[in-house]
Symmetry: C2
Subunit: 208 residues, 2 copies
DNA sequence: TGGTCTCTCAGCCTTTTGGCTGATGCGGCC
DNA sequence: GGCCGCATCAGCCAAAAGGCTGAGAGACCA
């Protein structure tokens, strides 16, 4: 049978090289293409039609990982996408799942975990690192504290230091709506000011 | 002549694997050991006496990269140490140099940059990524942008999300004084709001 | 079909923050 | 002794943020 074809997307040469070396040891897995940006990933996907896309969320320049996932989803709604990233922030996990990722691996995963995730992804299985699973589990117990995708998106932009007006312009919504979202975010994070929300987001949610 | 022996220190298997694959393509460079923690790095160094240590600053658990560098320095004051990390925060760069690192590379470096840095390190040359060098250079040219001790203290508390009143109470100064300090901090950081100052502090100054 | 969730928006009011100007005391430094 | 950087404080004003209430549209689900 033909090996599982993989497209690697990560802006760090070293990481791509490492993944390629690791996956190359498995006879049933073959890295057919690499991309250093979201844009390049879309091109590579069109050209190679890989079985699985392994992608980092943080891309240096251009469109980010989440947006790339969404674009891939538009082109092929059943494409298997594995997120492979450094941080297990609640917001990132929610947003990646919402965008259509099949699994969520952390970069400190063992080779075995990575192999299993790739093999699982092509079979439609959802695989994730233990810390990620644990976070999701905790969220199931406290659903009141889970940020909605839109809130998570807003919080992420908030950590860049934008004003309410700027947030509205960036998201194409009114300032009133921004304030509503912020009020909800503050309540869920248990803070009262945007400053505290930012530090909580960065510390607890791992955003940066 | 014997190849340059390298010890890799990074808590991510994938990164070690990638570095090993990249460095392995060079006949004059040989990876003789790997370590996933600061503690393991010290043991590996004692055992293998590598020419160069390539080390990440962020280690999942145990002693961090900076502390590991200091410990290595205590054992062998002339050991060549290359920092290989994701973020170019001012604080990290200064701390790494202070601890005794020879060079500072970012993970998006090209293979050629990495090779050159390893070869340079054994010859006692200081090599760093362009963004890192640019930061250091900028600090030298614009001493006006360096925070005073009091300002740094305030900025640190600011990242905890405190209000002006709370900052004043914590530092035993009036709210007016807090505002004066903040105005100076904003000017030096090149921002206009406290939210932007917080994110800049965490991102660029490495505060958290 | 009705309930719930999410996202969207508006108005009103209070508090907080930021910009500006000006001022005082203290400690180095030439 | 005078200059300068640093830390301290005040008052005034405009802008931004936050608290509150209410409400409509669309999606989803029982």
């Amino acid at each position: 049978m033909t090996p599982i074809s993989v497209l690697l997307v990560d802006d760090h040469m070293v990481v791509r090289s490492g993944l390629k070396a690791l996956l190359g040891t498995q006879p049933d897995i073959s890295v057919v293409a690499e991309a250093a940006s979201g844009e390049a990933a879309l091109l590579a996907m069109a050209e190679h039609s890989p079985s699985v896309i392994v992608m980092d969320l943080a891309m240096g320049a251009g469109i980010d990982g989440i947006e790339t996932i969404k674009q891939v989803r538009r082109i092929n709604s059943r494409q298997a996408i594995l997120v492979f990233t450094t941080y297990d922030s609640d917001a990132d996990i929610v947003r990646a799942a919402d965008a259509g990722a099949m699994g969520y691996l952390l970069k400190d995963a063992t080779p075995e975990e990575i192999f299993a995730a790739v093999r699982g992804a092509v079979q439609g299985k959802s695989v994730m690192s233990a810390p990620v699973a644990s976070r999701l589990f905790q969220q199931l117990r406290n659903p009141d504290e889970v940020l909605t995708p839109r809130e998570a998106e807003l919080l992420s932009l908030l950590t860049e230091g934008l004003s309410n007006k700027a947030l509205g312009q960036r998201l194409f919504i009114s300032e009133a709506t921004v304030k509503t979202h912020l009020a909800h975010i503050y309540a869920k994070l248990g803070v009262e000011t945007r400053a505290a929300a930012i530090s909580t987001a960065i510390r607890r949610e791992g955003m940066r």
